[in-house]
């Protein structure tokens, strides 16, 4: 699996993401700087990592969404390349309109940094195929702006189309309908606030995030 991790000024989970991808796929991803307007050829997966791109100026993810590299990411996503946005990466994807809705300040104002229980809502996507629908997993979150909001019509549509990938099992940040991660219409873009790359090896304390990367690897390696 050929992957790339996008690096913005202020990204801080880019190396964790790279380590997780290397661990699971056996191949280190290319690190792509935000000013690059072209992506490496033949990518299977683009990962947009967590952090505070551009200092979260204006709105989380807003400046990153306008960066040269995101134009290339948008084009790649349209061609069907898998895109995984975690935490700030999810915020960048909504600000880039690759995913619907917006991520607002946590309802409780506080930064939330802890393990959270998630329910896997959809096990049919390339990102979640190694999970069982309804399964409960535990993955850490670390965010200030994770409160997912969209209007009722959008929420109904993504629910109806099975595009809610993960839901918080308890209250975390005030997200509408407890949404923790959503998939785009075509099924190749996932944005989620929890950090699967921080739960991929026993030293992390748990490995529930590993299957997300393994599921992607299965899909990519599958003979067409």
């Amino acid at each position: 699996m050929k992957s790339a991790v996008i690096v913005f000024p202020g990204s801080n989970c880019d190396r964790d993401m790279a380590e997780a991808l290397k661990l699971v796929s056996g191949k280190a991803p290319e690190m792509v700087w935000h000013r690059d307007s072209e992506l490496p050829q033949g990518l299977d997966l683009i990962a947009i990592p967590g952090g505070f791109s551009y200092g979260d100026y204006l709105r989380s993810g807003a400046m990153a969404a306008q960066s040269p590299v995101m134009r290339a990411v948008r084009e790649a996503a349209e061609r069907g390349v898998f895109v995984l946005g975690v935490c700030n990466g999810f915020q960048v994807l909504t600000e880039s309109h690759l995913l619907p809705g917006a991520l607002m300040r946590n309802a409780g104002i506080s930064f939330v940094c802890r393990d959270v229980a998630l329910t896997v809502e959809n096990s049919q996507s390339a990102f979640t195929s190694r999970y069982e629908a309804g399964e409960q997993i535990t993955i850490p979150v670390a965010h200030h702006d994770g409160n997912y909001q969209a209007d009722e019509a959008v929420l109904d549509r993504i629910e109806g189309e099975g595009r809610v990938a993960f839901r918080y099992a308890g209250a975390v940040n005030g997200s509408a309908r407890g949404i923790a991660g959503i998939i785009n219409e075509a099924g190749n873009v996932l944005g989620m606030m929890p950090h699967p790359e921080r739960a991929v090896e026993p030293a992390h304390g748990r490995t529930d995030g590993r299957r997300l990367f393994e599921g992607l690897l299965d899909t990519v390696l599958q003979p067409a």
Binding site: L58, R59, E95, G101, A102, M104, G108, Q149, D151, G174
Partner: protein
């Protein structure tokens, strides 16, 4: 020419910052505050040729996230 853009949360969108400010005002003993909503003021220093439509485009593309925010543009009368 200074143009002001006010970015505010849409009605019905929960404003945790506004709530915290409200709470702090009450803590200071100010009564009679029914609600607080926090927003942003962005000042643009524009050349004369920049049209209203251009500023609106700036708001839609970057300054406001229209999923959750409204914007209002205040331009001084052309001299």
């Amino acid at each position: 020419m200074k143009t002001r853009v006010y970015v505010t949360l849409k009605n019905g969108v929960l404003d945790p910052q506004g709530k915290a400010i409200h709470h702090a005002l009450e803590g200071l003993g100010f009564s009679g505050v029914n609600d607080v909503r926090a927003g942003k003021l962005i000042e643009l220093d524009l050349e004369a040729g920049v049209s209203d439509a251009d500023v609106e485009e700036m708001c839609r593309k970057l300054l406001a996230n229209t999923v959750i925010e409204n914007f209002r543009i205040e331009r001084p009368e052309a001299a």
